[in-house]
Homo-oligomer: 584 residues x 2
């Protein structure tokens, strides 16, 4: 892949795009400030690490990514996965912990970038939607449970959902009521504004778009109000309300993280999983936004863009980033035309880091917890479960198992379980193919299931249609079906396989058919094929089976029936009309 020196949006930038990009960049920044502080807390990292992850990564993505509206930066799920990867390796918040977070971003970035160069963008679609939904919902519930302790001002060790809830129940007497009060009020304010502010403003006459965007500023308002209250009242000293405290100002000088073999060895799997999840999420957000404007994104370039963003994050003291759902939607709605909006956010964030970090000193942790809880509960997705439950139980069960895996085993285990389940459902489904013995619809050249329709069959000929590609997991079943048919249909002289739905035929299935042909021939039963698809036929021709069967492969089932009547001195009139099956 040739990397363009300058992205097209930049070289062809048009002036009329600027106002949309400026507005969107500003609004996203106002969302990004509390979110970057909150998600750093969720990841167990000091607040400035979240701020650092919100500057250079945005610029790197703007230069290499393909989406016009994806807002890159710290997100909830990747922060949870970061915490889950680092907690076993170092004390939360310690310098080693921070160094490991930076290393994790570097490794994830290099993996994504390498995958982009190898054009592995198609991997974005290798997780089924129900499994992604189960994983995100599980993560959201786990994050919410984990944030209860910050919301209530109780210090608790991290753990799985069950452990955290148990520990919390045992520590109810240690709740800091002032913290909990501030957090509870913030939560109430955020829920109310989320639910009623936008409709209220619309009824008051505001344009719907403006009303929606206004409601997105609520977290910033909560942060400002709570910070002002704590600073004025001094409850951090008098009542022990946990606050953010000193945040170093100034941008970190770019530095290459120290590489240690042993650390990399324990981080490669988490880095791989964060890359996979981050990439899949980014692509699905970017894609759905692009489609609304008739634009396209390129998964291979997304790998490069998100990969570069993570490398940039690592080089500037940040932690793993990816495209976030909520901020991207706001960016889109606020009128972002190009990634210039992201660059503008980055510049504004850099200004905040350079001179305004002191303002966050009195920000209470419980308010950050409230913003996280409101943000992630929006990610809990019951609709997909309902749809899947009605449409396809196997998908619904995959969703529930992935959800349960995240909550009760662990985040990494949950996503790995999801990958395995995606594949297992695929194999399980195609391993039991639908097969139908067919006959001719009287007077036509159409052939239908003898169990569903009144059709004509020829004595001695069994025509079997297989409704699935044939491969290692189902070839044996076809063989068994044919053996059963021969045993239940005395006098069978010919088995006609109708391969109209066989899109693939792998080496294992080819071997099974080769053995089957020989075994049938030894019993004076002829194997024939009809309606073989072009690509399958092309490959079949050069095989020993293809050569043996050269004159027994028919273009249409009708031709095969005619050939059988000729060969056995029958006429179509000798056809037997099948009775209606007792099943129908």
């Amino acid at each position: 892949m040739k990397l363009p020196s300058m992205p097209a949006w930049l070289t062809h930038y048009q002036r009329q795009w600027l106002s949309g990009d400026l507005t969107a960049g500003l609004i996203v920044t106002v969302m990004l400030i509390p979110q970057s502080l909150a998600y750093a807390m969720l990841a167990g990292l000091p607040p400035q690490v979240g701020l650092y992850a919100s500057v250079l990564p945005l610029v790197a993505y703007a230069l290499l990514g393909s989406s016009m509206t994806l807002a890159v930066g710290p997100v909830a799920v990747a922060s949870l996965m970061t915490a889950s990867a680092l907690v076993p390796l170092a004390a939360t918040g310690s310098p080693e912990y921070v160094a490991l977070g930076i290393l994790l971003a570097l490794m994830s970035g290099l993996m994504l970038f390498a995958a982009g160069l190898l054009r592995l963008g198609f991997l974005a679609y290798f997780l089924s939607h129900p499994v992604i939904s189960g994983f995100i919902s599980g993560s959201a519930v786990l994050i919410t449970i984990g944030q209860l302790k910050s919301l209530l001002g109780v210090a608790l060790p991290s753990g799985n959902a069950f452990g955290t809830l148990t520990a919390l129940a045992q520590s109810l007497d240690r709740i800091n009521l002032v913290s909990a009060g501030i957090g509870g009020l913030a939560l109430l304010f955020l829920v109310v504004t989320r639910k009623w502010l936008s409709p209220g403003l619309k009824r008051a006459g505001l344009a719907p778009k403006v009303a929606d965007l206004m409601s997105r500023l609520a977290p910033m308002a909560a942060v400002i109000a709570a910070t002002a209250y704590v600073a004025a009242s001094g409850v951090d000293r008098t009542a022990g309300v946990s606050i953010v405290g000193a945040v170093p100002s100034g941008l970190p000088s770019p530095a290459f993280p120290a590489l240690q073999w042993q650390q990399m060895n324990s981080l490669w799997l988490p880095a791989l999983l964060i890359s996979l999840v981050g990439f899949v999420e980014s692509v699905s957000v970017a894609q759905s936004l692009a489609l609304r404007r008739g634009q396209r994104i390129q998964p291979d370039r997304e790998l490069l863009g998100i990969g570069a963003a993570n490398v940039a994050s690592a080089l500037s003291g940040g932690y793993p980033v990816t495209g976030g759902f909520a901020r991207s939607v706001v960016n889109f709605s606020a009128g972002a035309h190009t990634p210039a909006a992201g660059v503008i956010s980055a510049v504004l964030m850099a200004l905040v880091i350079a001179g305004m970090t002191g303002w966050f000193h009195y920000l209470p942790h419980s308010v950050l917890a409230a913003t996280i809880i409101v943000a992630v509960t929006a990610l809990i997705d019951v609709d997909t479960l309902k749809e899947a439950w009605h449409y396809d139980k196997a998908d619904a069960i995959s969703l529930l198992l992935t959800f349960a895996g995240v909550l009760f085993i662990g985040v990494e285990e949950g996503i790995m379980l999801g990958v395995v389940l995606s594949l297992a459902v695929l194999v399980w489904r195609s391993s039991r193919p639908h097969m139908a013995v067919v006959g001719r619809v009287p007077g036509t050249e159409h052939f239908r299931n003898i169990d569903r329709h009144q059709v004509d069959t020829l004595p001695g000929l069994v025509a079997l249609r297989v409704d699935e590609s044939l491969y290692f997991a189902n070839a044996q079943l076809l063989e068994e079906k044919i053996e059963t048919l021969i045993q239940t249909t005395p006098g069978t002289r010919c088995i006609l396989l109708i391969l109209s739905a066989v899109n693939q035929l792998d080496t294992t299935a080819l071997g099974t058919l080769t053995e089957l042909e020989k075994s049938l021939a030894a019993r004076n039963i002829m194997l024939q094929f009809s309606e073989v698809k072009g690509p399958v036929l092309d490959r079949l021709h050069s095989t020993p089976l293809g050569k043996r069967m050269k004159n027994r492969i028919f273009l249409s089932t009708h031709q095969a029936f005619l050939a059988f009547t000729d060969a056995h001195a029958l006429s179509m009139d000798t056809a037997r009309r099948t009775p209606w099956s007792s099943m129908h």
Copy 2:
């Protein structure tokens, strides 16, 4: 599943079967004696453990298995896997090592038995044939390399193929020439008899079957000759030739192996993999033999049979067993009618253990190594590689990677790599479906690829046939294809998806189609389906998409074309004849 109290072959045993079963039981025993000693050596276990694994397991399988001719007992690949599992945990041949081997058999047996009760027999077909072939060939090469040290009388640590060969090259000066001479002669004898004895005997007038069976007795002859030579010459004392030594006589008293949590924790994965590989191998051997006689085996009952055999092995001091290829073929050829042949082998083996173990004292290890090498080199399978290479490169590459994985990474890693490759090839293949824009073959109701045939199309209608089931890994590609078609075909008013080859439509693909339909509707482009398969249509009907599209799903593509001409006041005469594509 109801377990029958007595198998049918036993309750309906016919006298005329007895001579075949007796002959087969006897010949298999003659093969089994040297093999059980040799495979125990390969597994790093004392010789008697191999003998113990050749008694009760045969009886247990006879009572519960479904194959009439499968010969159960110690086999090469499972012995290699046992060594690979136990070597990191205890000193080879130590009492703990033996105890772990017994525990491994117990765990594997319980897993298989449980899988049988859960009717998971279909798992036998979840590994592609090329991957199994690569795994077996890799194991055979690894075993051969590993046995070189016993053949040459050099003591070397175990390791992967490369390490063992390197260590061997550095120890060439420590070869025991007498051991190597005896082993070399045995190897030569076995190779010559294998290659020329049977044809020679046939030319001499023996019946082919008898000649084949005679050649199978060569290993026993080599064992007897070598043992007699060592006993008479005393080279074990004078030249340090390594011999089997004292083998305790008498049957072990059944005992339940000691269970320790920590040991079970390190053995569950090896036990699972041995179960999987052993089961897959057993079923494929049993199936191919059953087919030759028009019999069937039942994978679920095979799980119970092999599971019970392993539990029986553990209870009587043995190690993991499964159905072996070579002995099963001999059992079949020698005329075994029922598992009574296995019971007869078991009785004979019990007699050997009871009174004849002293005879193995002077048996040289180098001769056992020679019998192993000759047995496993027959398992190296180049034909499947050749076939796969011609037919399907992806399958051939899976085979080679699995082969290399076993040789250079490890046995367990190799089989896990194989499972992943089987699935990955499946997904990769169906993730890039063949799609064709079709038109009407003039004057017919047939529709063909516009790039391959001269066909009629209607202005404004794009008819796209998808040659693959739609699911999470390819749904997005369909959407992209349609967007590209719309951009390259101005004036498109209708997209007709021909779903004749879509056997499945999962929740993810349903979601993609639902979004696509909305997105097209917003652009005044109508989505239509034709030739939807029954099972797909049944499920589609109750979904929101199915309800929205109720009147836009056509039985045939022809009907969809007619409806389009009606709706747009066109006639089929307005169809445009497509030119021959520049591609053809």
